[in-house]
């Protein structure tokens, strides 16, 4: 009887005796993510489930990521198959208004310039010793686009998924803090005060409906491996613009996106097991989130009658970076109204990051790096 009681008590202590320093560090990191999400309001929709997932997976002997573990099931069925990020893309398409971009299509090129950060980050990652496919996954952080970073990481470097996701979303949530000083340093007083005319070129409903179909076909023919990405975004946008599947559109932008965000966040947190996450590679990924700022210099390169501040909106953090541009522009010229122009560049940045990833995947196939 006595030995049975001792054994029973030992069972209660098993978790404690198996608790290592790594577990404690990761539980603290998970708690920090929760604090950032709840206390500071940085991307709470993702940081809350990621932080909690990181805590769950670092409880010794709980086995949530072991074979038959509940998080392992979600991870294998949703992340390894790339289904979760693709479902999120349908929601993004349903939520994105591409009208500003269609009204002023030249601005879409600023969305391309904003993607140069991807390729600069890729080169930095290679310089730091990441292998080729890991560098591709890390490079996508430079797009300032969380879902695309998750998609590419789950495809090429699933072991870096946690670090890449946290870095990408941290970078996105810090846009209001890191963009203003960069805009300030890289533009002159005169440039900041440039007033841009109102572009009013209304777009017909037919154009709005045909656009997602044409983009899917044209972009997918050039970059076939990116078809899942482009196709899902444009499917969501077609549902929005067609106006005939309101229920599906609402489901995509609310229910589906919410459920998948929860499961995806938990799965990302679940990849943050101490033995995998506390590696020099992970720390380098997180450091690169700051390094990519240099790549963003490229999106400020514009001139003439265009206020160069709107170049800063050519990234994927939508619509946050456009709002930052508007606020900065108004600081220097109260009469300047840059929001619509910045929204065009921002929508271009959203499409641009997806296109950049699609182009990258196709170039990798062409080079024989992926099958």
């Amino acid at each position: 009887m006595e030995s049975a009681i001792v054994s029973g008590l030992q069972g209660l202590l098993l978790g404690l005796t198996n608790l290592g320093t790594g577990h404690v560090i990761m539980i603290l990191i998970g708690s920090l993510l929760l604090y950032l999400g709840i206390g500071k309001g940085y991307e709470p929709l993702l940081l809350l489930p990621i932080g909690f997932g990181a805590i769950l997976v670092n409880i010794p002997l709980a086995g949530l990521m072991e074979k038959d573990g509940v998080l392992r099931f979600f991870y294998d069925t949703g992340v390894l198959t790339e289904v979760f990020p693709l479902l999120i893309f349908i929601g993004i398409g349903a939520m994105t208004d591409l009208q500003p971009l269609m009204e002023n299509p030249k601005i879409i090129l600023l969305g391309a310039a904003g993607q140069f950060g991807i390729f600069l980050t890729l080169l930095l990652a290679l310089a730091l010793g990441f292998d080729k496919l890991e560098a591709v996954a890390v490079g996508i952080i430079g797009a300032c686009d969380g879902p695309t970073a998750i998609y590419v990481s789950s495809k090429f470097a699933p072991h870096l998924l946690g670090a890449v996701s946290v870095a990408a979303y941290s970078y996105m949530s810090l846009v209001p803090l890191i963009q203003p000083p960069i805009m300030k340093w890289l533009t002159t007083e005169k440039e900041k005060k440039i007033m841009m005319g109102i572009v009013k070129q209304p777009v017909s409903k037919t154009t709005k409906i045909i656009f997602p179909v044409v983009v899917t076909v044209a972009a997918s023919i050039i970059a076939p491996l990116g078809t899942p990405l482009i196709g899902m975004v444009m499917l969501g946008n077609l549902m929005k613009e067609s106006g005939v599947v309101e229920r599906l559109k609402l489901a995509a932008e609310n229910d589906i996106t919410n459920i998948v965000t929860l499961l995806l966040g938990l799965c990302i947190g679940a990849t943050m097991e101490a033995k995998q996450f506390l590696q020099p590679q992970t720390l380098m990924v997180l450091a690169l989130a700051m390094g990519v700022l240099f790549g963003k210099l490229m999106c400020l390169l514009s001139g003439g009658k265009i206020n160069p501040l709107i170049g800063a909106a050519g990234i994927s953090a939508f619509p946050m970076s456009a709002r930052v541009v508007q606020a900065e522009g108004q600081k220097y010229n109260k009469k300047s109204y840059l929001l619509m122009h910045a929204m065009s560049a921002n929508a271009g940045g959203q499409i641009g990051s997806v296109i950049a990833a699609a182009v990258m995947l196709s170039v990798l196939k062409g080079m024989g790096i992926v099958g």
Partner: protein, 48 residues
């Protein structure tokens, strides 16, 4: 293929390719707007 050949090739073709695709898309938007121009009565009829 060595790492740097890979990196620079992907960076150059990737940047150029992205720029090219987005430029094509901007042309397609202009073309669509020419083929299906906006008509004010369209919005009026939508408003009912």
């Amino acid at each position: 293929m060595d790492t740097w050949t890979f990196g620079w090739t992907l960076a150059l073709i990737g940047m150029g390719g992205t720029m090219l695709v987005l430029w094509c898309l901007s042309l397609l938007v202009l073309l669509l707007k020419k083929i299906f121009p906006y008509r004010p009565e369209q919005s009026a009829s939508q408003k009912g």
